[in-house]
Amino acid sequence: MTSAAVEAPPEAPRASECGPAAVDDRVHLARFDPATRRLHAVVMATFLGLAATGMPLLFSEAPWARALAAVFGGFHGAGLVHRFFGAALLAAVAWHLSNVCYRAFVRGERGLFWGPTSMVPQPRDVADLYAQMKWFFGAGPRPRFEHFAYWEKFDYWAVLWGTALMGAAGLVLWFPVAASRLMPGWMFNVALFVHGAEASLAIGFIFVVHFFNGHLRPGKFPMDLVIFTGSVAAGEMRGERAAEFARLERTGAIRSFVVADPAPAIVRRGRIIGAAGLVLGLALVSLIVYAVAR
């Protein structure tokens, strides 16, 4: 289970840092850089905005549809806000993809597309999933995860894939006459259906599965602040991502990850933003459940 740890760390440690190194459980280790946190903030805000402004149309015959649209000034207001958030999310994803390309091909960063710190699914994720299942049933120890666990990779690729698909479908619906130069008109029917079905999937997945895995599950409840503060306590990381922790300790690189404890103001801001997102998201999911169950 520690086979991935033989991979070279992303930044080769200096000679003086080589060899086993230990850090106190209470110190904080960097996990998400500011750019990643900003990307999450933009995705979070636009996703909530897109869900709240799109749901009145997707569930137009639900009793709450008109009231939810009225929050944004009625259907036309909701449509404008939806297009604004859609464009913002597409811009954020475009920025992210170009940033990945810049890091990989200009700065020559290694380990982005394969290895222990990569977001790309690889054999160890299948092994981790199997081990996790065994752990669920008490047939094995908790798997020793690397930088990104398999459910985190699923979240990432689901959002990326969903944004690409819904963005494309959304643009077709936004500019149908222009789109008709590239495709027959019945593709608008497909675009609307796919946009709505993928939205249902995304809203349900983010506001239920991602919320549970990332925040609400035992051990994280009520929320994991790492995406807001950027750092995680060493003790928590040792339990959560044993393989990564061991790899960083063995190479000594762990010392270069030590950062100052997050400022109380940052923690407070994270709690407020995170709680607001959780409450809004769960409220939107409740509306969908109500509309579907009715």
């Binding site: 009145p56 149309l57 997707l58 137009s60 015959e61 549809a65 008109r66 649209a69 009625g74 259907f75 036309h76 299942m133 752990w135 669920f136 049933f137 008490g138 459910w151 619906l173 149908p176 006459v177 008709s180 130069r181 495709m183 027959p184 008109g185 019945w186 593709m187 608008f188 029917n189 497909v190 609307l192 259906f193 796919v194 079905a197 993928e198 249902s200 999937l201 349900g204 997945f205 239920v208 599965v209 549970f212 895995n213 599950r217 035992p218 051990g219 994280k220 409840f221």
Partner: protein
């Protein structure tokens, strides 16, 4: 309806009682004029008033009407005091009995035109129902009988009637389809409203759905249908594509939704629409493979993907929760 029947019965009973008491008591006067009194002048076919207009009343037509049991003065309330009565009498107030209908009429565009806009030709009760010869709308001879409604409305709205007569609904009506829509089904008989409001346009779509339920259901799956059900009328509703009075079968080349005219019809909103653009299906059905294979496959795919995703991760989360609580893990 039943209340009106009861009231009608009471009026008839009162009339009878009054005539009986009139016969038995020898009260001096003033007695209200009886219908016979009225007909002594108005029964003359040549009766005219000072300005030369005929004031003759055909007693046989009154007797054949639904109001036959009433006396003249029940409607012409100010006519019976002194005979001969004044030159000009008050207008008959049908609303004194039919107050629910009168209330609807009062808020209608016809009442507005007549009473506020000064359009003296606009109809009140008698223009549609007749005056002395009022018969129930169920009688084939009535001017407001379903089959005769287009002719009655068309007496003023001649241009609309011409269009209506050329459409599928008039054809169905002529073939004897008693549920084929006539003017009053969409426009309402008494509460006739302006047709240029959003509220009216949105309600009209619901009206089409009372017969074309599955067509409106498929429309509700589209962007157009979802936007209109949110209360915005700035996108296409039924009449915007199909027309209103002169709706024709799509098979006819003159129809606005015929293949020959789709580019023109869609292009009214979507400037630059082409032959490819109008391959859009305004009434999609994802469960109908023949209407669109790609949509059918997309529907199939998501019906597997969505339950699959939620099923897997729902179970995953439940097991995780169970294992964590079992292990006593707390944050």
């Amino acid at each position: 309806m039943s209340i009106r029947r009861i009231r009608f019965g009471l009026v008839v009973a009162a009339v009878c009682a009054a005539s009986v008491s009139g016969a038995t008591t020898s009260a001096p006067s003033p007695q209200p004029a009886t219908s016979e009194d009225c007909l002594s002048c108005h029964g003359d076919a040549g009766a005219r008033r000072a300005d030369g207009r005929s004031v003759a009343v055909d007693a046989a037509r009154v007797a054949a009407s639904i109001h036959a049991p009433l006396a003249c003065v029940d409607c012409h309330a100010d006519a019976g005091k002194d005979l001969p009565h004044a030159d000009r009498l008050a207008k008959v107030a049908c609303g004194s009995c039919h107050d629910d209908v009168a209330g609807k009429y009062h808020d209608s565009i016809h009442a507005w035109a007549k009473e506020k806009a000064g359009l003296v030709g606009a109809p009140s009760c008698a223009e549609c129902h007749g005056a002395h010869d009022v018969t129930p709308h169920t009688a084939a001879t009535s001017r407001v009988y379903r089959g005769r409604v287009p002719a009655t409305c068309g007496a003023c709205h001649a241009g609309v009637r011409e269009k209506y007569d050329a459409g599928v609904h008039a054809a169905a009506l002529k073939k004897g389809a008693s549920n084929a829509p006539v003017c009053i089904d969409c426009h309402a008989a008494h509460a006739t409203a302006r047709t240029d409001t959003d509220a009216w346009r949105l309600r009209a779509t619901a009206e089409c759905g009372t017969c074309h339920a599955n067509v409106v259901e498929s429309y509700r799956r589209t962007f157009h249908g979802k936007v209109t059900s949110l209360g915005s009328a700035r996108v296409a509703a039924c009449a915007d594509c199909h027309g209103a009075h002169d709706i024709r079968s799509a098979a006819e080349t003159t129809s606005t939704v015929s293949k020959a005219r789709l580019v023109e019809t869609c292009g009214r909103c979507h400037q630059g629409a082409t032959e490819r653009f109008v391959q859009y299906d305004p009434h999609p059905d994802p469960s109908d493979y023949s209407r669109g294979a790609v949509l059918w496959w997309a529907n199939r795919f998501y019906w597997l993907l969505i339950p699959g995703c939620f099923g897997f991760f729902g179970l995953h989360s439940a097991l995780w929760y169970w294992r964590s609580s079992h292990d006593g893990e707390r944050s």
